[in-house]
């Protein structure tokens, strides 16, 4: 099913989940009410419905998708594809299923993600895979793949799961991380891993590291190869230089528990 949006204003797409919409008749779908800038509106007024017989199990959003907030919020099954950029909170609190975004994602992409897969063809805003405002814990599982860059505080409060950023990450990536894995193929910004207790933050480079991270050795992380194989299965390739190259390992944050690690690719 494809919904071609023309809301003209910010639309709360939270209720528009595959498990709900795909079992409704077309006329019922058009009657579903959504919040457009605080006004309850029938879905049929802000979108055009098309049935896609080629992919009957998928829900596709097209058109003016940048106005959509909370896409796949709390989604617990199914496949949702957005052909364009999305607003804030896309995939937040997702429990299962797949969310594919063929464009950029605004702030709080996959915030507090529990499980499932989120793929973003573009870049992500601040707090990707991080905690929702007021929440203590960020990502607790699942996988987020961002093919572009990510903003500040990526995976803040992360407890488990995998966040991959193919470009660069902003400041404070992995802030207050309790466990989990962040892979940044490009560079990480300032204050990376601040208050990190466990977990891994792997990056191509870093402008600087906090003084509470201590250099331990140069190593070839064997676990990274397992991740590379997994990412290959998702059609994502780890930089080839990473697989055969060495990484400088820093442990920290020694102001906190200090069992985390930052691995920086050692240029030959």
């Amino acid at each position: 099913m494809t919904l071609d949006f023309h809301p003209g204003a910010s639309l709360d797409a939270g209720p528009l989940l595959p498990a709900r919409l795909l079992r409704l008749a077309p006329v019922e779908v058009e009657r579903v009410t959504v919040d457009v800038c605080g006004r309850q509106t029938a879905l049929g007024e802000v979108s055009r419905l098309k049935w896609n017989t080629a992919a009957p199990d998928s829900l596709v959003f097209t058109g003016e998708t940048s106005s959509l907030q909370r896409v796949a919020f709390g989604m617990d099954s199914g496949i949702l594809l957005v052909d364009g950029p999305v607003g804030r909170f896309a995939g937040a609190l997702m429990q299962a299923g797949e969310l594919a975004i063929h464009g950029d994602a605004a702030e709080f992409l996959g915030a507090c993600l529990h499980s499932g897969l989120i793929c973003v063809k573009g870049s992500a805003g601040h707090s990707a895979g991080a905690r929702l405002p007021g929440w203590k814990v960020g990502m607790q599982g699942g996988v987020i793949l961002v093919e572009g860059n990510a903003g500040d505080e990526a995976a803040a409060g992360m407890r488990r799961g995998l966040l991959v950023i193919c470009g660069n990450a902003g400041a404070s990536a992995g802030w207050d991380m309790g466990a989990g894995t962040i892979l940044v193929f490009g560079s990480i910004g300032a204050h990376a891993g601040m208050d990190m207790r466990r977990g891994s933050l792997v990056a191509g480079s870093a402008a600087s590291l906090l003084p509470s991270f201590f250099a331990s050795c140069t190593c070839i992380p064997s676990w990274l190869r397992v991740y590379a194989r997994y990412l290959n299965s998702l059609a994502l390739t780890i930089p080839p230089a990473w697989l055969d190259g060495h990484f400088q390992r820093f442990t920290g944050d020694h102001i906190s528990l200090g069992r985390g690690e930052i691995l920086l690719h050692a240029k030959p």
Binding site: S222, W223, R229
Partner: protein, 300 residues
Amino acid sequence: MQINGVEIVDTFAEAFPMWAARFIVTADAPFWARTAALAAAGMGISVVGCGCEAGIEGDLNPDDTPDGRPGCAVLLFTVSRDALVAELLKRVGQGVLTTPSSACFSGLESTQTVPVGGKLRYFGDGYQSSKRLAGRRYWRIPVADGEFLVEESFGIQQGVGGGNLIITASGVAAGLAAAQAAVHAISAIPGVITPFPGGVCRSPSRIGSRYKSLRASTNAVYCPTLKSRTETQLLPHANAAYEIVIDGLSESAVGQAMRAGLLAACLPGVLAVTAGNYGGKLGPYKYHLHELAKGGASCA
């Protein structure tokens, strides 16, 4: 029935259920992967005296291993589930963990799993950490060349042990050439191992002994030096016999391996190929040599 002038005795091999595990050992270089696999499978010859039967199923290309490095697949068989856990811990812990650059992963997708990395992790003395990916947990144990990566749980399943062929020949050279040809043919069959040294056993055993302390003793009926003293299963001109024991992950894998070995063993100088059984009392799997020779690979 004869193949290439070799008598195929109208009998059957009797096999029995065993617990089986398959694990994958990887390392930076094929040499170290094979070294680790050999160490892990080492002296896993017979459950009679080794606690398990183990062997290298085959070498693996980097494309076929979980971490994209060269590897080997090892099969391990025991008579009980508890014994399988104990042997896995011992062999992965001593044979693989200690080998430079090695890592170890489960090689079986099964609903039944046993903890391996989940127990070996304590070697990390509190410095171990884990990674969880796609529903699997991997333990990272600090060692002197980095980290030993081992999967938390290994899949196990019921397998089949005790498939066998006994090659009788006019002499040692002819018998050994046939046995090696059979082992080579069997090595191409996935899911099986021939656990004896080089895949060949020159000392078939029987259960029990005239000495009370022994669980097994030489099977005199296959010893050419005793032909004039005891009952014998050897033909009059036979001067050597070699047994090939085959353990496999499935009934059909053992059958295919037995067929491949049977056909390959029919070389000049071989007088007969037979098989060992206990009159059908030992196990539920019976592999009739004539049926295997005709093309069947399943057991009765």
